[in-house]
């Protein structure tokens, strides 16, 4: 089972109180943010604080850092300062193409060597937030073996589309669909955008249902209260687990009997259904006890 990234929770990199408690809410990944959550005048202090937090805190979960884009005056400095603390993952915002991914990859390789970290141990992901980035999503996703996920950043994307966000999310349908296709083609994960109205629990749930159906692996969240909501919806239901177990049992039985045709309750079962059942059970196992924080 690949690393779970159902919830990737942003933590402002310049807020010591929130950095202190970032690890307690059960998010699969915490993203210490040096980019949008941090005012331009605070960039250097956030960078230092994030470095200290990663070095000193035992978060017990995957720790990512969202750096500023390398085309800004802050991106490379972020990497310089933070890589020696060995974050698990670097998240690049506003990804525009494969070249920048390769540049960062090389920079990380040098840092790994210098700090005697195992080569390739620091992973990368990139957020697509522009039509150009979306067009090049597959190239971005496959530009480096460090890449583990693509994400969509909706606010900038919607602004670029010259539309607005709606409750149903139709404006994002095409982009989300394309992004999942690109990520799947590259064999990496796909993470949905944040839902910023933290008091609209119903809207939040609807959006998680939607992106789960579309094939996303998880969602970026901005508030600890959102973590368990995401996990609950991503968890396989008892019915799904039961069905998966019966599919596998029927498959096993058919193998033992050397029967060519497998059926369950009169429905034919083929290999993709078996693969899906296996995935459901592996997912259930991986998420057990990590569900409802």
């Amino acid at each position: 089972m690949e690393k779970l990234r159902r919830s990737m929770m942003f933590i402002p990199g310049n807020n010591p109180g929130m950095l202190q408690n970032a690890g307690i809410y059960g998010a699969d990944t915490i993203i210490l943010d040096c980019e949008d959550a941090v005012a331009i005048t605070e960039k250097d202090s956030a960078r230092n604080l994030v470095f200290q937090a990663i070095s000193e805190m035992n978060y017990g979960t995957e720790v990512a850092v969202r750096i500023n884009h390398i085309s800004t005056p802050f991106g490379w400095d972020d990497l310089k300062r933070i890589l020696p603390a060995k974050p698990d993952l670097i998240r690049l915002p506003m990804a525009q193409g494969p070249d920048e991914i390769r540049q960062i990859d090389e920079f990380i390789s040098a840092a790994e060597q210098k700090n005697k970290f195992p080569a390739g141990s620091i992973k990368m992901m990139a957020a697509v937030e522009t039509p150009k980035g979306l067009r090049l999503a597959y190239e971005i996703a496959s530009a480096s073996p460090r890449m583990v996920a693509l994400a969509i950043g909706a606010e900038d994307f919607i602004a670029n589309l010259k539309t607005t966000r709606s409750k149903l999310g139709r404006e994002l349908l095409a982009a989300r669909g394309q992004l999942v296709l690109a990520a799947r083609e590259a064999g990496i994960q796909c993470i949905d955008t944040v839902f910023s109205d933290i008091n609209d629990e119903e809207g939040f749930k609807n959006e998680i249902e939607l992106i789960k159906e579309m094939g996303f692996d998880g969602k970026s969240v901005v508030n600890p209260r959102q973590v368990s909501v995401v996990h609950d919806i991503f968890a396989p239901t008892a019915k799904e687990i039961d069905h998966a177990q019966r599919v596998l049992a029927a498959y096993q039985e058919a193998l033992e009997k050397k029967s060519g045709v497998i059926s369950l309750n009169g429905k034919m079962i083929d290999l993709p259904i078996v693969a899906r059942a296996e995935r459901t059970l592996a997912y259930a196992k991986a998420t057990a006890g990590k569900g409802g924080k």
Binding site: Q20, I24, M57, P224, R225, G292, K293
Partner: protein
């Protein structure tokens, strides 16, 4: 002497005399008889109505050295206590022992009267704000005497507190002294603490802004206990008496702690059909209600009764059929006040019925579970809710030790860190609730179960909750914040914390400021 939890308590405390050290939560067996109010008579056709508070002070014959009591049901909206003390001071009466059921920040106004020697002793649940700081500096003739709500009821009934005059704010009072707390502009709901004082004070003065025709209905305090009535413009500020509906916290850390606490209750085996519980009114302890409610609905179980310190959130659970009854000693918010007014199964109870350890059995003895907050806890599971990280008095004992002693399962919720300070320590500064009555400490980073509760430990084994030893919890806190410096104190004892049975569980020594 060292008491049974290892606290150094002098045998003789200046101002208090010889004291008995705490010897265990249930070690002390009461002897003797209950004390009582002085006999009195009221001739037919007597008018109990007096013109003013000043006239009432004359009528009761208040003198130097007497003890006067008040209830704290009006919380920060109280307009009685400060006013009465001001009138007493004007009459030149001195050396008064003040015995209110609790003090709020509104009572900071009493500080000048302590400085002037009008008030020389205070016996109450606790103090906050400037008053807390002032009392920590040691300006009283006797140390501040802190008792729990049940302990105060016990002390009143045993005669350890003898109330000469109770001045009781009465939201509704008829011309012959029947009182309730649910009608009028200053309605506060339950009058649980006032009921206690009215029954045992030598003389009772009802002060009201809502004089009603006789007979009043319903009656919480009967006319037989009330000697005089004074009508004033306003006895309380409604905005300070009760907040609008107390709502569940949105603080994610408190919610996480609350969720863990509800899970502990669930896995402990105590969340069963017809269970009973009390929730503290702090953010996290109140939020536990939300998660317990979800579990009750999910499992299709209903509770027997709730106890409080009542909030609308709890009353709502009763109205939804999740609990049969509520026992209410004080009502915290407007929905709770409305509930006690309209629901016959929302019962008012006295402080003694609530929590007195030396009667035929207080309702806390029937509790399955209580969720309590804490300022700090230690590796012996002792809890401090009185002094802050500088050793300054800033809280109240309340019903903490009473409910902890009574309930089958006592869960204490607290953040492991407050800012840069660890809240699980080697030793708390002041013990209010002894660790032997605390079963679980729930923080955002881990849960410790009292090693004595083998049954609970066993039940939680496969819960998936972050269970660890209390020492591990402390180590996490110290690892993040460092070991806190001990608070430097003098030998001067500025406060004593009396356990509910009348023994001294701890003393508060004046910190070096």
């Amino acid at each position: 002497m060292k008491n049974s939890i290892g606290r150094e308590i002098p045998d003789f405390i200046p101002g208090l005399g010889k004291v008995t050290g705490f010897g265990g939560a249930f070690a002390r067996k009461p002897v003797g008889r209950t004390a009582g109010a002085a006999l009195s008579t009221c001739l037919p056709r007597t008018d109990k109505l007096l013109a003013s508070i000043e006239t009432a002070i004359d009528a009761v014959g208040l003198k130097d050295g007497m003890t006067i009591s008040f209830h704290h049901h009006f919380r920060n909206g109280d307009r009685i206590l400060n006013r009465v003390v001001e009138a007493i001071a004007k009459k030149g009466i001195r050396d008064i022992t003040l015995s209110p059921s609790s003090l709020n920040t509104v009572n900071d106004a009493l500080i000048p009267y302590i400085e002037q020697g009008v008030i020389t002793a205070i016996e109450t649940s606790g103090a906050r704000g400037k008053m807390g700081r002032f009392l920590t500096e040691g300006h009283l003739k006797k140390p501040l005497h802190i008792r729990s709500h049940g302990g105060r009821a016990q002390a009143i009934e045993s005669g350890a507190i003898h109330i000469d005059v109770a001045f009781l704010g009465a939201p509704a009072c008829d011309r012959y002294g029947n009182i309730n707390g649910i009608q009028g502009q200053s309605a506060c709901g339950s009058l649980g603490y006032a009921i206690q004082d009215a029954a045992y004070a030598d003389q009772v003065v009802a002060i009201t802004d809502n004089l009603m025709p006789h007979p009043l209905f319903p009656i919480s305090i009967p006319q037989t206990q009330v000697d005089y009535i004074v009508v004033v413009d306003s006895i309380g500020d409604p905005a300070g008496i009760a907040s609008g509906a107390l709502r569940y916290t949105k603080d994610p850390k408190e919610l996480l702690i609350a969720k863990y606490a509800a899970d502990v209750l669930d896995y402990s085996g105590h969340l069963q059909q017809d269970f009973s519980m009390q929730l503290g009114s702090g953010g996290a302890s109140m939020a536990v209600g939300r998660f317990i409610k979800a579990k009750m609905l999910e499992r299709g179980i209903t509770g027997s009764f709730g106890v409080g310190g009542m909030t609308g959130v709890f009353a709502e659970m009763m109205e939804e059929g999740l609990f049969k009854m509520m026992f209410d000693v004080q009502s915290f918010d407007i929905p709770a006040i409305d509930s006690i007014k309209k629901n016959s199964n929302h019962l008012e109870m006295s402080a003694s019925y609530y929590a007195n350890p030396h009667n035929g059995g207080a309702i806390v003895n029937n509790l399955d579970a209580v969720i309590l907050s804490a300022t700090e806890v230690d590796v012996d599971f002792n809890v401090n809710v009185i002094t802050d990280s500088n050793g300054v008095i800033m809280g109240a004992s309340g019903g903490h030790s009473d409910t902890a002693a009574g309930a089958k399962l006592t869960i204490v919720v607290a953040p492991l860190l407050r800012g840069r300070l660890p809240m699980v320590k080697d030793a708390v500064q002041t013990v209010v609730t002894p660790g032997e009555t605390v079963d679980a400490i729930v923080t955002e980073r881990g849960i410790a179960i009292n090693p004595k509760r083998l049954d609970v430990i066993d039940n939680l084994k496969h819960s998936g909750l972050p269970i660890m030893s209390i020492y591990d919890l402390k180590d996490i806190a110290y690892g993040l914040c460092g070991r806190p410096e001990p608070i430097e104190v003098t030998d001067e004892i500025v406060g004593v914390v009396e356990y509910r049975d009348g023994t001294i569980i701890d003393v508060i020594r004046r910190p070096i400021f």
